[in-house]
Symmetry: C2
């Protein structure tokens, strides 16, 4: 049940190919991607819960296909809040891709990301789809262009692949790519997801993978928060085309561990690449009334602008962490609350109902040193139960403001 | 039923005096305040709903006095998350003030604001209380020093006064002061309040003013949001000492209009003085399923970092406003949603399910011009009912990050 990281990305599993092109939605940047499977792939899908859903999300939620052969994705324009014309444009993207790939429209998934409230330039989009469908290939180059073609304000491409051996000895590959930097606060539900992410695998799946996909989402993308703004366009898709052969992987723990590894890796990559982010914050809550309250508490902390700004400034202002806990609604016993900062070094900030050290003490120096690291772990024991939960986020920097003060201009 | 703005602040109503001193909690700045009433004042009180409550809030919620003679308030230290020693310190502040003013401790309210998780320097605090109790006076000078003594990161003092004539001809004065810049997301409940605010009046009240005070809170402080972080220390107090004489004002609309005018004025002053704020954002939602959903939608928009950063950058990225609406959970009919920006000029951003104008159009220029104003009104019709609600906030600037990246240092 070991999961091995390997080179490569979305086309690492057998039977998948991909392409990314510069269609012209953006000025001279990759902006249109196709992921293609030679065999029908069993699909699981999670969508944003934002009620202002983009046109491609409306279409995917309406059809919620259980099998897919391809996904067509554009960046630079979200096709969100674009009314009936937006719906027609999303349908057209699917139809043009189906035509070019000799598939039925229902066999093609569609997703968009970028500026909200603008109509897609369908002339260049259609030409881009035709070009991408001709350029489908396998291998590292394709993995890179396709992962770049779905990026918006991302500074880094997010792509990874793993292999694991199933109980029956079959070697299966699971790979993924994701985009996401701002408007990140996913609360994805299968059939109701933030950020775009695509996971491919050559494992055989027979049963409906959506319930397991929800569990994977809850342990990965639904744990991250960049700015508390859940997107209009989030979608997270699993495509399993069975090209590896062997026994079905539906109940094989090794398979789901591999999928979860990919999803967690992509989700953390999104959090650390949050707009303007300089640090990854991981909050681990224990001792909550239940797992749900633990997650709510962790999320409230990682979402607090005051906590995020303090981490950016390496200011050990732990009161803000506990204030965010207090706001979360989660139950806690302040006399049993224990707050620890970790990164190699570890320092207790609060326990037994009181601060653990005085201003300008040695311990405060250690806390400050931890906060200067690139990855900060906040451990918080609530003292009222056995619930545990995590949330991952990033700090709030000047660059977040800069990036978002002039996004459309 | 006209409410007249007058010069002056917290001591403008008859029978109130005040003082503010530099006790030494802060370095050479006003940090300790007393408000005193010659007569017993009927009290209404609203407190933060954050579960991590500061020691003075714990004490006030426990005793929830119906009558008060004085309030002792310090800034520079929140006395929050300070355990049993913090409780003892808050009790001591009240006892020392009572001793100095010849009152019972239960007749004195106590409040703190500032850094969380540090113990109060009780030596200087006690000396400051004694000094302030000797320096109580009425008039503009006292109004200014006391309002300054409760400030933390506030850049402006928040103080105002009005007069109105009751049905029986009695002229009553209502005045207030407030502090608050960061950690502002109040959701105050009487007997469960953000920001410190104190409203004094010489009107006679006979009935319990708490239910009416809740209504005033819901129309004023509970409408504002600077950063979504509800404080550990919020308290909002009304003190009515009856010194104006005349008939009880309990059911006099003119009186409550005057109180609401003061509370709204203070709340807007807090919003526009939000940490790093350059602009006031007022969101007015109409056509919601009910008033509660309208308030939730308005608050979700004014709390969105993406909306706030776009307003800072004067970027007419209206999709973020509708994305925030979608996240709020409030019901809407996208085909009937109408989004308008106003400030003298008015421009429709979205209606009939689609954006109202193309990028780089004349209308976009007007939208950009509106967003360059200091006060921006966002009007949003949801098209599903008759509910209305408002929220007031501010933009997200580089200075918000600067201020909060080094608050304790």
């Amino acid at each position: 049940m070991t999961v091995q990281h390997i080179e490569g990305g979305i086309t690492a599993p057998k039977g998948f190919s991909a392409a990314g092109v510069k269609s012209g939605i953006k000025k001279d940047k990759l902006d249109l991607a196709i992921v293609y499977s030679e065999l029908p792939a069993r699909a699981a899908m999670a969508y944003t819960q934002n009620k202002a859903r983009a046109a491609p999300i409306e279409i995917m939620m309406r059809d919620h296909p259980s099998e897919l052969r391809a996904f067509v994705i554009n960046s630079g324009n979200a096709n969100a809040l674009t009314g009936l014309k937006g719906m027609a444009d999303a349908e057209a993207m699917r139809e043009v891709a189906a035509l070019a790939l000799k598939l039925k429209p229902i066999e093609v998934g569609v997703a968009s990301t970028g500026v909200i409230g603008r109509f897609l330039p369908m002339g260049v989009v259609n030409a881009g789809i035709l070009q991408a469908s001709r350029e489908l290939q396998r291998g590292t180059e394709a993995d890179v262009v396709v992962a770049k073609a779905i990026m918006t304000t991302d500074t880094k491409m997010k792509s990874c692949a793993v292999q694991t051996t199933l109980k029956d000895g079959t070697l299966v590959t699971v790979a993924g790519m994701a985009k996401g930097s701002g408007m990140i606060s996913p609360a994805m539900r299968t059939l109701h997801a933030t950020t775009l992410s695509f996971v491919t695998t050559d494992a055989v799946l027979k049963a409906d993978p959506n319930p397991r996909w929800q569990q994977v989402m809850d342990a990965s993308f639904n744990v991250i928060n960049v700015d508390g703004d859940q997107s209009t366009n989030d979608i997270s898709a699993l495509l399993a085309n069975g090209a590896a052969g062997g026994a079905p992987a539906d109940d094989d723990p090794a398979f789901w561990e591999a999928v979860t590894t990919i999803a967690k890796s992509l989700a953390k990559a999104v959090a650390i690449d949050g707009e303007g982010a300089t640090k990854l914050i991981e909050v681990i809550v224990t001792g909550a009334k239940d797992d749900n309250e633990a997650r709510i508490a962790a999320r409230s902390i990682v979402a607090s602008n005051l906590v995020k700004a303090a981490v950016f400034g390496a200011d050990p202002n732990f009161g803000r962490i506990l204030a965010a806990l207090g706001n979360s609604g989660a139950d806690f016993d302040i006399s049993k609350v224990r707050l620890v900062l970790e990164n190699g070094k570890s320092v207790v900030l609060f326990e037994n109902g009181s601060p653990s050290f005085a201003p300008e003490s040695t311990e405060e120096g250690v806390a400050r040193a931890v906060l200067h690291e690139k990855r900060i772990v906040v451990r918080l024991e609530l003292g009222v139960g056995k619930g545990t939960g995590e949330a991952w986020g990033c700090d709030l920097s000047y660059d977040y403001v800069r990036i978002n003060a002039s996004y459309t201009t």
